[in-house]
Subunit: 381 residues, 2 copies
């Protein structure tokens, strides 16, 4: 058979055809009225996904660069901060904060576990003078969704800023920045924003901006004061990743036509279908409170998750993700993110079932697909 | 007439057709053997332009991000450094160093002036204990080329590291990293590398690596120790800008087929032709020691350089660059960089001549084009 590849990982995600085609158009220069008008349209489009009245800045970097930008723009050396580590990406907040000499109270959760807002309130109470709280909307290493709305209620009553990693979650799960009292929200191009990797996005609340003006951590490339000044002139302080911004514009057009609510609903339906499919295969979900970005599945005893992922990729061309760090071989992660449709969800489940057969793991044939299809049939719009 | 645009600026530069087309191919995942093999081919290709046996790292950022990476990876707070500011981009070294609390001895040149190695030797002598010297290969704001080989002779005798911004110059002017004793060399994708903006490149000498292991400036996203560890596994520590790397591969194939020497010769011929054309128009060159990346031209008295650039762009579609900072309106910059050919150089000169006519500036009709063509005719290969 023809070797066909299906990208089913939580970033990069497949790109809509018009987004791919847009990259093949010759570059325009970034100090022209034509580019400025494009740039401002993209920042407006991003604001309508961030749901904020504040500026959203486009950085030329990966999501991790925007995480660093969040840290260095609002804090000063020695500041006390709280971070919630529910997986590999939550842990990254603590790593960045420590690299910059901050006093980090890291709340380490068992991967996949939830963290209710009441616990955050207790931790914050025990950490007087904390200047920021770092959390994750959707933890890509576990598929867990966190209660950002609840954290906003807790943190907004204190002098701390609530900083949210929305890299994989924004657009797939609700996170209205202004309504939920999020002070710093970041995201990136290669997830539900349906563009290639290489751009990251960040917005600061008024409370965060007033902190940014006094914050003294060293910064240059990621200095948002410079970005704000340039944005007022319709541009970025450094040469922007022009072709990626052109592509992001195309993808934002799609999001605008669809509407953010329907985009979130799309992810909800896919998430439900995949979870039903996984249960139909008599497999267990990993996250206590699973989100709709990806579904992490426990690898059944006696099976090697690494072999599972390898067969799915090499034989079936189904590029799902394995577990990370201590969970390598113990979980697999099926993404339903961005430009993936109902049949892509079925592809992942079908490749999973065929691979289980191949590895000799007993499972109820077809039950996974049937369960997922039942959800899709009902909700398909 | 059809409004056709000619990109004649020093970055972004026009892209070869196969580089544009490569962006329209669906993304591959970055944690696959397929990507690793591509990634390693690109880093090998970069090494053959850097002319180094050291690793060259691919960062997802603009050139300025790589400048910051150079600073934070080799220095510690309070370190004394020397920087040479011969224009807007030379000045950026000093800005970044100050943002990180370094003790900067900034040598401020009049824009466009040269800086012989003997003067650097004298400055270094007067600045004992300097840990690094920051210079620029081709200063994009003035078109000046600097004597990196000579600086290497001077700096290699001291404990200082020689850090070279080769963002616009590398590939257009010789700068063999290992042979010339360059300790940190950076470049970016959107210049002679003929790819879109969004990638930056950096390599460290052995002397620089031994410093990097002790350097204590804070860093995370730009931490090259992490990049080195990941490269050994055939990948990057953060999600790479996959599509841009695919495009860079295509452009490097072209550079490989052509050979670095011929790429540099290409720029030399174009530079000579444009300088001859400018002289033919009885205009004056701005840089004391002009390089072959771009030609900066003094705007004759009585003319407004901003109007000149505007007419060239809006009427003729010829996107050349104007002067920056204090030189706005006083110089214009014609690039001959990357995927520009002989007729693109003539296009720039012709648009310039027609615009001079339109603005009522007397000039010898056709002499510029004739002079440039004479060079091109003789050297065309």
């Amino acid at each position: 058979m023809i070797k066909k590849t299906y990208l089913l990982s939580p970033g990069p995600t497949p790109l809509p055809e018009e987004v791919l085609a847009a990259a093949a158009v010759p570059l325009i220069h970034h100090r022209t009225p034509e580019f400025s008008s494009l740039y401002l349209e993209v920042t407006e489009g991003l604001k309508s996904v961030f749901l904020t009245g504040q500026d959203v800045f486009i950085l030329a970097c990966s999501g991790t660069g925007a995480m660093e930008a969040a840290v260095v723009n609002i804090l000063s050396p020695g500041d006390r901060v709280v971070s919630v580590s529910g997986g590999k990406f939550g842990e990254r907040w603590a790593h960045i904060c420590r690299a910059y000499g901050l006093d980090v109270r890291e709340i380490v959760l068992e991967w996949g576990r939830d963290f209710p807002k009441e616990k955050l309130a207790a931790e914050l109470g025990a950490c007087p003078g904390a200047k920021a709280v770092f959390v994750t909307l959707s933890e890509t290493s576990t598929g867990a969704l966190f209660d950002i709305r609840g954290y906003g209620e807790v943190v907004s009553k204190t002098e701390a800023l609530l900083v949210v990693d929305g890299i994989s979650g924004l657009g797939a799960a609700p996170c209205p920045m202004d309504d939920w009292n999020v002070d710093v929200l970041i995201s990136a191009s290669q997830k539900s924003f349906m563009a290639p990797p290489g751009l990251a996005y960040i917005a600061l609340s008024r409370k965060a901006w007033s902190r940014a003006e006094k914050a003294s951590l060293p910064r240059y490339y990621f200095d948002l004061r410079k970005a704000r000044q340039s944005l007022a002139e319709g541009t970025s302080p450094w040469t922007p990743a022009i072709s990626l911004i052109v592509q992001q514009k195309k993808a934002l057009d799609r999001i605008k036509n669809m509407g953010l609510e329907r985009l979130i609903e799309h992810h909800r339906i896919l998430g439900e279908a995949v979870r039903a499919g996984v249960r139909g295969l008599r497999l267990e979900l990993f996250a206590e409170r699973p989100g709709n970005v990806l579904t992490a599945v426990k690898v059944p005893p006696g099976l090697d998750g690494r072999a599972l992922v390898k067969v799915m990729q090499s034989k079936y061309g189904a590029h799902i993700a394995g577990g990370q760090e201590a969970y390598k071989g113990k979980i697999i992660r099926l993404a339903h993110l961005g430009y993936m449709g109902g049949f892509d969800a079925l592809t992942a489940l079908s490749a999973l079932e065929m691979t289980l057969s191949e590895l000799g793991h007993p499972h109820p044939a077809g039950d996974g697909l049937r369960a997922a299809q039942d959800i899709l049939k009902e909700k398909w719009t």
